[in-house]
Amino acid sequence: MWRDAVLVARRDLRIELRSRVAISQVGPFAVLVLMLFAFALDPDRGVLDRATAGLYWVAVLFSGLLALGRSAAIDEADGVREGLRMSGLEPGGVFLGKAAAVAAQLLALEVLLGAGVVVLYDAEPAGPLLLVATCLAATAAVAGAGTLYGALVAGLRVRETMLPLLLLPALAPVLIGATRAFEAALDGVPADGWPWCGLLAAFAVLYSVAGALAYGALLEGQ
């Protein structure tokens, strides 16, 4: 299964690199979201400063939706799904591979957004260990849940609208947890943030296991 996961992850990443959509569109979109917040929230009154953590993670979620949509679209192409069924690949491995590929893209996005937030919102990073751990856990959570929900709506004509509707409420705990952890780090009290990081990790594990188990049924069930 792990072998299959690596194979699929490499395929997904290679396709993304080849098409360059992630780099040329999703990344700029993420930065754009940050700028939209600035337009909406009056950058001079310290609102952005206090809300940095939350705005950051909202931007991550929105950009993540795009990345997840593209991940699902890879397997909607002409007969690829049938090919996956015929190939004998372990569905759990396919799931983990796809989730890993999305996670890699999300991490890149988060680094980009981190730079964006430092530059645009004048944020001062602190508590780096907590920040990094939170990013890793939250990314795993978003990628795992997102790939599972992506499979739930894969191939549907209404995929683009259903995915946000189904995924975002389920990711509310991730948004809450990641924001609290970031706030704790930025405020200089990382001890407050580690429990939230733990919640994120538990979430990631739960959804990764659920996704790996459910993917087979979803692949087969047309």
């Binding site: 290679r14 002409d78 015929m86 190939s87 004998g88």
Partner: protein
């Protein structure tokens, strides 16, 4: 010998529609069986059902010794399906696609290379993204993906569609070669002249059921002797159409299908020495060493393209077809249509 495919009164549903309404079919190892029938008869569904992709809800369905009604996924790796969809990633190159699907099916890298060579894709085309290929080239890429898996059962759904004459010849040669190494081929085609020449026998499908010769009732009205076995001399295999009929598919009324076309195919002198096909890319066809099957053709029955003599990539355009020596398949006992 147990048949590779055994279907008895099989019913398969597409949603709520019984695409297969009662299929009786037995295919022995090493046979090439042609499925024939009008659009909507269920040929595609039958092939997909044999691949375990469409569930069979009634009757018996046993493929490669596994009961498809209970374990549809068991045979997937041993079966190769070449359908209407390509199953290729547009953003990846030909080589990357074949390698991915090959590795997904746990094939050796050598087999992947051999598959690319056999379909003539290991030259310039290897590094071309699939999105930039023509339909025929994509078909060949899908075929390479199939070859790389070395399946025991080939399920070909209108395989000649979209291919030029040279590629069609090449496909026929590959089919013959695979069968010679123990594979079994089930093929649906509207390209009756070529396919009938290639096939050991023909099975007719109408409205989801196989037509049996001399069946009582209205079902027997299908022309004349079409359901009879088509005995084809080994020398006819592969090259019959090179100089012959136009490259378009021959659309045939079911009522017309009968002895007429069969005899026409048999009458056509095999033109193996093949006039060079103008305009085709150099399509190297490796010289085939007839592998005399000793009792049971092949080892586990998996054809192994890698066992063929190294393909001569520089083969001149004049060569295609010339090297296809007749492959005897003495181990085959075409069973009569159930």
């Amino acid at each position: 010998m147990k048949p590779v495919v055994h279907l008895s009164a099989a019913v398969a549903l597409l949603g709520r529609f019984p695409a297969l309404a009662g299929i009786d079919l037995d295919v022995a190892r090493g046979e090439i069986v042609l499925l024939r029938g009008p659009n909507g008869a269920g040929k595609t569904t039958l092939l997909r059902a044999c691949a375990g992709l469409v569930p069979v809800v009634r009757g018996e369905a046993v493929v490669l010794g596994r009961d498809l009604r209970r374990h549809p996924r068991a045979i997937r790796r041993r079966v190769g399906l070449l359908g209407h969809v390509t199953g290729l990633h547009d953003d990846l190159t030909v080589g990357e696609n074949v390698r991915f699907w090959g590795r997904a099916a746990r094939t050796e890298p050598a087999d992947v290379e051999a598959a690319l060579a056999l379909t003539g894709l290991d030259g310039r085309l290897r590094d071309v993204p699939v999105a930039e290929l023509s339909a025929g080239q994509r078909r060949r890429t899908s075929l390479a993906c199939l070859l790389a898996r070395r399946p025991e059962l080939w399920l070909l759904d209108e395989p000649h569609a979209g291919l030029d004459a040279g590629a069609r010849d090449q496909l026929d040669a590959l089919v013959v070669q695979a069968v010679g190494q123990g594979a079994t081929v089930l093929m649906a085609s509207h390209e009756l002249d070529r396919a009938q020449a290639l096939a050991h026998r023909v099975v007719d499908l109408v409205a989801g059921r196989t037509i049996t010769p001399g069946a009582t009732g209205a079902g027997a009205d299908v022309g004349g002797a079409d359901a009879d076995r088509v005995d084809v001399e080994p020398a006819d295999v592969g090259g019959a159409d090179v100089g012959g009929a136009d490259a378009d598919r021959v659309d045939v009324e079911p009522a017309d299908v009968g002895g007429a076309d069969v005899s026409a195919a048999a009458d056509r002198a095999p033109d193996l020495a093949g006039a060079p096909v103008p305009g085709a890319e150099p399509v190297p066809v490796p010289p085939v060493e007839p592998v005399p099957p000793a009792g049971r053709p092949g080892t586990e029955g998996a054809p192994s393209p890698a066992s063929v003599a190294t393909p001569d990539v520089e083969a001149s355009p004049a060569a295609p077809g010339a090297e296809v020596s007749p492959v005897a398949a003495p181990g085959v006992e075409p069973s009569h249509v159930a």
